[in-house]
């Protein structure tokens, strides 16, 4: 899909639809407490597709769960269209959740969809919980949601076990669309699918954004598939955002060494990478001089770590709508050269 600039252009200074403001999240209690997110700042503007990437344990899924209110931030807040939803408690929070403004599509549809319900019942469930619609209205909306995801009425009476993996993922998306959300978050929507079905689902998400103007956050570890559809890419490393910028510029010249490592490690049919993974990995297993509680989260793996990296760099603007958290974002590129001229 080619970029459509009319969709992407969000007036500078316009308030984001969703704002994640200095969010810290700790999971577990006492000695098992584990800080999963640290000072996460993120805005999602109407009509954009944002790719959220990072490795296992980097906090991608926790961030998504925090946004929909399944996890409470220890510090900071989540603001949806001016309403601080993370501060809601009790009945107000339950009511907000029932409205379903933010919908989460879970990673594994086989596990997140009830195997005993038919597709029709699964897609209708959110509408029934929200209430305010009669049977006729619900049926109409279910059919409309399935249509939007390219499924026809033949799947209505089947259970998740009776349809293919690609169709199951479409059902998860239809379930989320039925309540007409304002923001869709998809957690690894394509990691369980093979290449062709993967592109089918990604194309569907792209079309939904175009036809409904729906902002979509796609959590993924596959950067190159994001390159096809995302407008912006946000890289998480150990609970911190380390780079956030327009997808074409970040992928053309990543400014954080970890983003560069992710790109260099992605399998490729071609061999025309600016860096090889070797140039971006720390050699040997010796102790890291810059390691410490305040050190940059990536210092222990970074081949370019210097004394300055003994403190965590903040996420700072390095260009228009582009920021990175690296002390040496201007220098490391030169240090990593000359391999592939």
């Amino acid at each position: 899909m080619t970029a459509d600039p009319t969709i992407r252009a969000t007036p500078a200074g316009a308030p984001p639809l969703l704002a994640v403001e200095s969010v810290d999240v700790t999971l577990g209690h006492g000695w098992r407490a584990n800080q999963v997110l640290s000072g996460v700042d993120l805005g999602i503007w109407p009509g954009e597709i944002v790719g959220l990437v990072g490795e296992t344990g980097s906090g991608k899924t926790t961030l998504a769960r925090t946004v929909v209110g399944l996890v409470n931030p220890r510090r900071g807040r989540i603001v949806l269209d001016g309403l601080p939803i993370s501060a809601l408690r009790g009945g107000a929070r339950r009511a907000e959740r029932r409205r379903g403004h933010v919908q989460l599509v879970f990673q594994d549809p086989l596990r997140s969809l009830d195997p005993d319900l038919t597709v029709a019942e699964i897609v209708a469930e959110g509408l029934r919980i929200r209430g305010g619609a009669d049977g006729e209205e619900i049926r109409r909306r279910v059919t409309a949601a399935l249509e939007k995801t390219g499924l026809d009425a033949t799947v209505l009476e089947r259970t998740p076990g009776q349809i293919s993996g690609g169709q199951r993922q479409r059902v998860s998306i239809a379930r989320a669309l039925a309540v007409e959300p304002r923001l869709l978050i998809c957690d690894e929507p394509v990691s369980a699918l093979d290449a062709s079905s993967r592109n089918h689902v990604l194309r569907l998400l792209y079309e939904l954004r175009t036809s409904l103007g729906l902002p979509i956050v796609i959590i993924s570890h596959d950067l190159s598939s994001l390159a096809g559809i995302a407008d912006r890419v946000v890289v998480l490393y150990r609970g911190r955002i380390i780079e956030d910028g327009p997808v074409d510029r970040v992928f053309a010249a990543p400014r954080h060494p970890y983003t560069a490592l992710l790109m260099a490690s992605a399998p490729s049919v071609r061999h025309d990478r600016p860096f090889s993974p070797h140039q971006l990995r720390r050699a040997g297993s010796g102790p890291v001089p810059q390691d410490g509680p305040d050190a940059c989260v990536f210092a222990a793996r970074c081949p370019f770590a210097a004394d300055v990296c003994a403190t965590q760099p903040p996420l700072t603007a390095i260009g228009e709508r582009w920021s990175a958290a690296c002390h040496r974002h201007e220098e490391w590129g030169a240090l990593a050269q000359p391999a592939n001229p």
């Binding site: 899909m1 490795e55 290449a195 592109n199 598939s225 490592l261 399998p267 490729s268």
Partner: protein, 349 residues
């Protein structure tokens, strides 16, 4: 037992795929001839006439959509077909020995010592309550009759060889204390512990992070270089396969539709299905482009189709495609294609 000279089914596969001009080398580790595997207690045939060779020091990749028969082929080569599945026709030879109808005990003596295997989800193949070091020494003590002390020393060497830092520490850890990438390294250490000739790796990196995947692929290449290990590698991701493998076999609906050297397949794919796979693969150029898809669905497992099994989804299908079985023809050095268009090109260059 020796390789019998049975003819592969006459209408298919003029020569086993990948045989090339080298002929029957003594270094041939695995050879599948006209392999047919039936599923559902013989109700359907999921693998139809697969012929394939893997030589020592060579990495051969099997690629295809889910349900294309690549995993069943692998399992037949390992002698671990799931219940209800059986080799219907054809043969599996291991280092020149026909093992098609080997007894369970016979297979057990091959596993570990001659054949190693690594699968997608390492955690489900390891005992969760026993230290990984113990699980590795157990193999060494049973298979190689090593003493406790020698096994421990060897285990630490192996952990080091597969790139686990602090092997002493890892030795005493249980699977839950290790990350996915470390567990896959432990699995590889166990798989190569008795110096097998062949390593079968079925989607070993699918569940791993991309940076760890790159490291595991490098490890497999390094093991091949250092030990002359033959590797049969299965993945649905053509990008992973082309990066790692020397030769590629593309599976579609239970058949190999194209096979040849990796560079040749990616630069000059001849089969429309391979061309489609290359278009949908994560080519990794990070450029914004149209996301392509392959229209239609693969046929049901065991579907009775005369002629080319891809014809229903093929953009260049002609009536001839459905006329009769399509032979695999040579399209270059060691490059074989099962497509009527390729056949024409050979007849009238």
């Amino acid at each position: 037992m020796a390789i019998d000279n049975r003819n592969p089914s006459p209408d298919l596969a003029p020569s086993p795929v990948g045989a090339g001009s080298a002929g029957q080398g003594a270094d041939e580790v695995l050879r599948l001839d006209d392999l047919h595997v039936s599923v559902h207690d013989g109700a359907a045939t999921a693998v139809r006439g697969v012929s394939l060779r893997v030589r020592a020091g060579e990495i051969v990749g099997l690629v295809g959509e889910s349900g294309s028969g690549k995993t069943l082929t692998c399992r037949a080569a390992l002698g671990v077909l799931p219940a209800g599945c059986a080799v219907e026709r054809g043969s599996v030879s291991f280092a020149g020995l026909d093992v098609t109808s080997l007894s369970r005990r016979g297979w057990e003596s091959l596993h570990g010592s001659h054949l190693g295997a690594v699968f997608q989800d390492p955690a489900s193949y390891l005992n969760p309550v026993i230290s990984v070091g113990h699980q590795l020494t157990e193999v060494l003590r049973v298979k190689l009759r090593m003493s406790r002390r020698a096994a421990r020393r060897r285990a630490l060497e192996l952990f080091e060889a597969v790139g686990l830092r602090q092997p002493e520490r890892v030795f005493n850890q249980i699977p839950a204390e290790l990350s996915g990438g470390m567990l896959q390294r432990v699995m590889i250490a166990i798989a190569i512990s008795c110096d097998p000739q062949l390593l079968v790796a079925d989607e070993p990196t699918t569940a791993l992070d991309v940076t760890i995947q790159a490291e595991v692929l490098e490890l497999l290449q390094q093991l091949r270089d250092e030990r002359g290990l033959a590797v049969l590698f299965v993945s649905h991701d053509l990008a992973v396969i082309t990066q790692l493998c020397d030769r590629i076999a593309v599976f579609y609906a239970g058949e190999i539709v194209e096979s040849g050297p990796a560079g040749e397949i990616t630069r000059r794919p001849r089969h429309p299905y391979t061309q489609a796979l290359l278009r949908v693969a994560s080519v990794g150029d990070f450029r914004r482009r149209e996301l392509e898809v392959i229209a239609g669905q693969p046929p049901r497992v065991g579907a009775d189709i005369t002629g080319c099994r891809f014809a229903a989804r093929c953009p260049v299908a002609v009536p001839e495609c459905g006329a009769g079985p399509v032979r695999a023809v040579a399209a270059g050095d060691q490059h074989h294609v099962r497509c009527v268009h390729a056949a024409h090109a050979v007849v009238a260059p």
